[in-house]
């Protein structure tokens, strides 16, 4: 045993001994976590930057990462609302000065972006680090997380093109976050004993209702939307005091089908986030793929390998991420389904 290994063993033994002493009530339950284990899992970053690893990343590097791993869902400028709510937009230089986003009041119709809502840059850093990219969370390096964070603020015209974000200057950058003064905790909904802000009474007779004291229906489902949630007759029990109203023939909000059906499998495997049957989304449509490889006997195995390992170039520059978690037979099922026209179940 090397000297360092011996030293480590001594530390571990000392820790377990102290833990055994500390632990009187439930002997044999649990153990002390090793420092490496705590480091591996304790990845959270607080607004005071406790937990932020040392490092840096440039806007330029961020753009590179963004275009490879983020833009396909979030749009080249972080503006896309095709899959997720937009990240960039709605903030002004005046907001950056003031720390409050004016559009939250002046433009109530505007979809709220990440930059409009975010009050702490730590939230952004922490979330990218733990949960992005969408289909490969926790795969970015520390440099890449700094870089993408910097690039998002650059897209929002908050940081210049030449900026390099680091643990040293992130506190200064926090002072530029547009909605940093936009949160309040003055309300009664945090504490179980908190005071409510809305009051009603137990009035029982001739109670005030509408503006004129009269009961008026002010909102209802418009006729054209009657079947927007499918046929309600098929969403209610067939016995009892009521039946579901027949609202549509055909278009039914289906209960989740078994994922052994290829269409459901494509959905469950998140294929449909980037592909559709008959139109280009991020990647090519299933019909385009079927058309290109028609009659190509080697295509099924090539396409299966592409789904498994990822690929780029055949349909443009946006790469398809690998799907290492999918079973081979699932991939083969999907390939057959796509090449046969991707008929919905």
């Amino acid at each position: 045993m090397s000297r360092s290994a011996k030293a480590l063993l001594a530390v571990v033994l000392a820790l377990s001994a102290s833990a055994a002493m500390a632990q009187g009530k439930y002997p044999g339950i649990g153990r002390v976590a090793t420092p490496d284990e705590v480091r591996a899992w304790d990845i959270d970053v607080r607004p005071d930057f406790k937990g932020l690893p040392a490092g840096s990343g440039s806007v330029a590097k961020g753009q590179q990462v963004w275009e490879g791993k983020c833009a396909s869902c979030h749009g080249v400028f972080g503006e896309s609302n095709e899959f997720f709510t937009p990240i960039v937009g709605g903030v002004t230089p005046e907001d950056v000065k003031r720390g409050r986003v004016a559009a939250l009041i002046s433009k109530p119709e505007l979809q709220r972006t990440t930059l409009m809502k975010m009050s702490s840059i730590a939230t952004l850093w922490d979330y990218i680090n733990r949960a992005m990219p969408w289909n490969a969370p926790k795969s970015l390096s520390v440099e890449e997380v700094y870089a993408v964070t910097a690039f998002i603020l650059n897209l929002g015209e908050i940081l210049p093109d030449s900026f390099v974000l680091s643990d040293k200057n992130i506190g200064e950058v926090q002072k530029l976050v547009p909605n940093r003064n936009g949160m309040t905790r003055k309300h009664g909904l945090w504490d179980v004993k908190g005071l409510p802000d809305v009051k009603n009474t137990l009035c029982m007779k001739d109670c005030p209702v509408g503006a004129g004291g009269k009961v008026q229906i002010v909102s209802s489902i418009p006729d054209y939307a009657r079947d927007a949630h499918g046929n309600l007759a098929e969403q209610n029990r067939v016995v009892g005091p009521v039946r579901g109203v027949v609202t549509a023939k055909g278009a039914v909000a289906q209960a989740a089908p078994a994922p052994s059906e290829p269409g459901a499998l494509a959905n469950a495997s998140n294929c449909l986030a980037c592909h559709a049957t008959d139109r280009k989304v991020v990647g090519p449509s299933f019909n385009e793929i079927a058309g290109r490889y028609k009659g190509d006997n080697a295509a099924p195995s090539r396409l299966a390998a592409k789904i498994k390992d990822g690929g780029a170039g055949a349909w443009g520059n946006v790469p398809m991420p690998p799907h290492a978690g999918m079973k081979t037979e699932e991939i083969q099922l999907l390939v057959r389904w796509i090449l046969n026209g991707a008929v919905p179940n």
Partner: protein, 453 residues
């Protein structure tokens, strides 16, 4: 509004308007009916005899039977051998119940791994949600985690950071309690106007189960947490989202559970198998699924789901942060939007009430859009931070009505009207809409989602 829509009190059952019974199933075709009308008085009797004989495959009875085919004719299920035990090793609902299923609201989200499926409240009885119909909300898809590989770590302001296996946790002294779980955004689509047709979509991010686990306080004690500086606990999921939420220490030490079981079996994967946090009274996002880590700290964390989402926009442009408690709320589940009453006559109006601050004290029901109210009966049990079922008898005379329920909890707080909520919070809050729900009943018997003002 017609004034003749009356509640029934227990001692005044009234006369039930006769319901027109259907003829025995399809004995008579159009030609036969014409024949009966034309005066062939013995026709019906003969026809019934023939039908009974054909169905029974037996000798024709000596005289015409008078009654329903469902009774008079032997059925296949009472005259044949049934299925053996364990034909379904894990039982399933009847095939006649398949309409009651979790469903997405079309157009609400664009990526189904970061979406919601709503529980079919319109079909539930009592207060317990069947495990397979519990609503779902995932932030990065659900996982089915091997329990032998799952670990729970407790670190931060503790004497020693510790790791527990599922074996460890399930040896600890457990408790079982029933609690509701409601997404903070439940009814969020209805802040400004009516948007969805049924109670499944207006209120279906709500479920209530019996949970079994170890009190969080037991684990925090076992790790020797810092009682002076430890003001908050961070809970973190083991899924791709690594979802994190801050919980106040006084909550954490009160009734929070680290749970592995739901309704007598292990948690379903969609609900966090093998381990989730149960934070009674607090919005569902804090009930972290696939729980892998708890950290004790002296400040809140501002995780994404408490600093970018689950923040409530107020009319002054400020977002309320850390809005956790689900305030007192109720809804009539039957009859409710998208349903049609089968006939005039007697009904038991029924629904659910709940409060994140305690027990339900009373529920009132109105049939005239909130002008006049009558107290409903609470079904037992009535438990802390748990759904309570209420009902009230009613005879429908065929006229229009607007049905509402209004709950009061043990703190005295009364569930508000939409206009009272909007006066304080505007219409862009998304979260924490606990307004009184209105269901409009037309004289056709059809019920629809309406808002009154």
């Amino acid at each position: 509004m017609r004034p003749c829509l009356l509640f029934m009190s227990a001692d005044q059952t009234g006369r039930r308007p006769g319901r027109v019974m259907r003829a025995p199933e399809n004995f008579l075709g159009p030609a036969d009916i014409a024949a009966v009308k034309a005066g062939r008085r013995d026709f019906l009797r003969n026809s019934l005899l023939a039908a009974s004989a054909a169905l029974a495959g037996a000798a024709a009875p000596l005289r015409a039977a008078d009654g329903e085919a469902a009774i008079l004719n032997p059925s296949a299920f009472s005259t044949s051998l049934g299925q053996p035990v364990a034909a379904r090793a894990y039982g399933l609902p009847s095939k006649y119940e398949q309409n009651l299923a979790r469903r997405e609201s079309p157009g609400l989200t664009r990526v189904s791994a970061a979406s919601v499926s709503f529980a079919p409240l319109q079909g539930f009885f009592g207060i317990i949600t069947p495990s397979g119909l519990h609503f779902e909300r995932h932030h990065q898809g659900w996982q089915d985690i091997d329990p032998a590989q799952h670990r729970l770590m407790v670190n931060g302001l503790v004497k020693s950071a510790r790791v527990y296996t599922m074996d460890d946790l399930m040896r600890l002294p457990s408790v079982s309690r029933m609690h509701f779980i409601e997404c903070g955004a439940n009814s969020g689509m209805e802040w400004g106007n009516v948007a969805v047709p049924t109670v499944q979509y207006t209120h279906g991010m709500l479920s209530c189960c019996e949970f079994t686990g170890v009190p969080l306080s037991v684990l925090l004690d076992d790790c020797g947490f810092d009682r002076k500086n430890g003001k908050y606990v961070l809970a973190e999921g083991g899924d791709g989202a690594g979802l994190t939420r801050t919980i106040a220490m006084d909550r954490a030490l009160d009734d929070v559970l680290v749970a592995w079981a739901m309704n007598g079996e292990m948690l379903r994967p969609e609900n966090g198998y093998p381990l989730r946090l149960v934070v009674p009274g607090v919005q569902g996002v804090s009930w972290v699924k696939w729980l892998r880590r708890l950290e004790v700290g002296d400040q809140p964390w501002f995780a994404r789901e408490e600093a970018m989402h689950y923040i409530d926009l107020m009319p002054d442009g400020l977002h309320r942060q850390f809005t956790s408690i689900q305030e007192c709320k109720s809804v009539i589940t039957s009859p409710s939007g998208g349903q049609k009453l089968i006939d005039k006559g007697y009904y038991s109006i029924t629904g659910l009430a709940w409060s994140g601050r305690g027990k339900i004290r009373r529920v009132d029901v109105s049939l005239d859009g909130g002008r006049n109210w009558k107290q409903a009966r609470l079904e037992t049990p009535v438990l802390e931070k748990c759904l309570t079922r209420f009902n009230i008898p009613w005879v429908w005379d065929g006229g229009p009505a607007i049905l509402q329920s209004r709950a009061q909890d043990s703190t005295g707080y009364v569930q508000p009207q939409s206009r009272q909520l909007r006066a304080v919070r505007g219409t862009r809050s998304i979260y924490h809409n606990n307004a009184i729900q209105s269901w409009g009943l037309a004289d056709t018997g059809e019920v629809s989602n309406v808002q009154v003002g």
